[in-house]
Amino acid sequence: MSKPNNLILQTATALIAFILLGFSVYLFFAGHNSPGGGFIGGLVTAAAVVLLYMAYGIDFVNKILPINFRALISVGLLVAFLTGVGSFLFDVPFLSHTFGYFEFPIFGEVELATAMLFDLGVYLTVVGVTVTIIINIANDTKAEV
């Protein structure tokens, strides 16, 4: 069977996927003060990954992205739950959050909040769920994602 030539799609994807990934990271970090957050960030990341799958095929992307997306769901949930449980250590009510200001070499003074850890859990779960659903439906062969 002859392989179709997707030179344009693949070249464009190489560019767009990285812009999408960068945008998703921006959305993830922007969530505290402007529209964005873990959910939409995760969806945009998943869109980038799905675009890679569309352009390069499942086998190739599995090689360059050796991530078990199903395990990513569990990791994300665990991060989110543990963020809540972490408040037990400081004897404050469940899911209490705190924040502080830190000095970084390039960014200068940055406000870091523990709510971001919870958002990281949401982000990982959303990426895992979305990619797992799409790959399982798209793949006719027995998927071991």
Binding site: A71, F81, G84, V85, S96
Partner: protein, 493 residues
């Protein structure tokens, strides 16, 4: 410390995530599941003990005070149900490895099981109407997965019905919450109760109350809304049926109990009067269903409906005796229904069929199973020394003191028919000549029998030890009759 209130919820949630990692190693998963479930049971016992000695635990998550943040309320009613949930979960988890196929176990059964328990516990503990919706969805999502697990044709067919009806009622639930939020401007149950009391439940609020009742009535399978329940509940594995039959409808009935004893209590001539009618009709139609079939699983499944009728009858009458009867019956019914579902699962397994017409003379081969079913039938119907009796006695006493003669007669008659419907399994399946042509080679393992024996023992204790249990139940009923206690403990004004 107020964080105690989150523990019964967060332990199954985290356990579910942890066993998802060990999914492919079945032995490790089974061991971890049993361990985590036992930890959950011990914690639930401890929290229940704390609540019954020191009073309700209110957890304001994130440190945001009551009407503004999400709160979890572990009061006597909710913690009693959480404890019962954990007891049933423990029985189910010891039964599961003997009953499930390896393929089902490695397809994340234990994760979904833990998520179901977390959802049910959350629904019991929450003090906020929208979170109640979220926990309903958590437990429903897990139940969707559990009902199709295995992928038989019949499971796929019944799950479609189940998912559609539940999606529809969830959508109505969101609509009802939106309307209520539009009317009173809050979703915290204590503050809703306060504001509804201020305007003495005007017309629109009663409409919303009926809409909410419609939603919870669908989840709890009350009279006109029960048609979806019996068949989807019998298609999955017996252990899943037991969890569903014992927990899911009871979450609906708990929500009705909570909402109509705390918030919408000012127009009882409309709402609570209707409950008595619905209760009577649920009993009648439920037992008719149970009598109509020869499928032993379907008989037990139909028996859920009259039990829900009994519980809501107590709420409709709304006096001390009837409410304590409702709560007693709720706890009793959760335990006995799970025991019965597990038991008919074993019977159908050893007989190779769930059709009564193809059985007979099982007592010659399985005397223990037969007598367990006999005791379970007596407990279910409410024969005096057992737990069903105390609940029904209190309910009937409450009904008679409120001069509700018709419902009393219906309740007594339907009890008789419930006994007959379950005894039919015993008479047709276990009695009879020893059939030499059939060979019974399947032996139920100890792992299948012990959880049932354990549940029946608790049920027998609830009946015989009524002197010990009843004061706590009556305390809950008194607490429910005075919503001001709940409001004050949450809003702390």
């Amino acid at each position: 410390m107020s964080n105690l209130a989150i523990l019964p919820l967060i332990i199954p949630a985290i356990s579910g995530v942890i066993v998802a990692f060990t999914n492919s190693h079945v032995k490790t998963t089974r061991l971890l599941t049993k361990l985590f479930t036992l930890i959950g049971l011990a914690v639930a016992m401890f929290v229940a003990y704390t609540v019954f000695t020191d009073g309700a635990i209110i957890l304001e998550t994130g440190g945001w005070i009551a009407p503004y943040g999400i709160i979890l309320v572990a009061d006597k009613l909710s913690i009693l149900l959480v404890l019962t949930t954990n007891i049933i979960a423990t029985a189910a988890v010891f039964y599961a490895p003997n009953s499930l196929s390896l393929r089902q176990e490695t397809h994340y059964f234990y994760t979904f099981y833990f998520m179901l328990i977390a959802g049910v516990t959350g629904a019991f503990l929450t003090g906020d109407l929208f979170n109640l919706f979220v926990f309903f969805e958590v437990l429903l999502m897990a139940s969707y997965a559990l009902i199709v697990l295995g992928g038989d044709k019949v499971q796929l067919r019944e799950s479609i019905k189940y998912v559609l009806i539940n999606l529809f009622s969830s959508m109505l639930f969101v609509t009802a919450i939106a309307l209520l939020y539009g009317a009173v401007g809050t979703i915290n149950m204590a503050q809703i109760a306060e504001r509804v009391a201020e305007v003495e439940q005007t017309g629109i609020l009663t409409t919303i109350a009926v809409l909410l009742f419609f939603v919870f009535g669908t989840k709890a399978a009350l009279f006109p809304l029960y048609y979806w329940l019996p068949r989807p509940y019998i298609v999955p594995n017996p252990v899943v049926s037991a969890l569903f039959g014992a927990l899911l409808t009871k979450v609906g009935i708990y929500s009705i109990l909570r909402v109509f004893s705390l918030i919408f209590i000012h127009r009882t001539e409309i709402t609570h009067e209707a409950f008595i009618w619905i209760a009577g009709l649920s009993m009648v139609f439920g037992v008719i269903g149970a009598l109509s079939t020869n499928n032993i699983k379907l008989i037990i499944s139909y028996n859920i409906i009259p039990a829900i009728g009994f519980i809501i009858m107590g709420l409709g009458i709304f006096n001390l005796d009837a409410l304590s009867g409702s709560i007693y019956y709720l706890v009793h019914d959760m335990i006995i229904k799970s025991a019965l579902f597990l038991l008919v699962g074993v019977i159908a397994y050893v007989a190779g069929t769930s059709d009564l017409k193809k059985m007979g003379g099982l007592i010659h081969h399985y005397p223990l199973l037969g007598w367990l079913l006999f005791i379970a039938a007596f407990i279910l119907a409410g024969i005096p020394p057992f737990s069903g009796f105390i609940g029904k006695l209190l309910l009937l006493r409450g009904a008679l003191s409120a001069d509700e003669i018709a419902i009393t007669l219906i309740a007594l008659l339907s009890s008789l028919l419930i006994l007959y419907s379950v005894m039919k399994i015993f008479i047709r399946g276990f009695w009879g000549e020893k059939d030499e042509t059939k060979t019974y080679t399947k032996k139920p393992s100890l792992g299948l029998i012990l959880p049932i024996v354990g549940l029946l023992a608790i049920s027998v204790f609830l009946g015989i030890g009524a002197e010990f249990v009843y004061p706590s139940i009556e305390g809950i009923a008194e607490y429910l009759l005075d919503p001001q206690i709940y409001i004050d403990s949450v809003l702390k004004e």
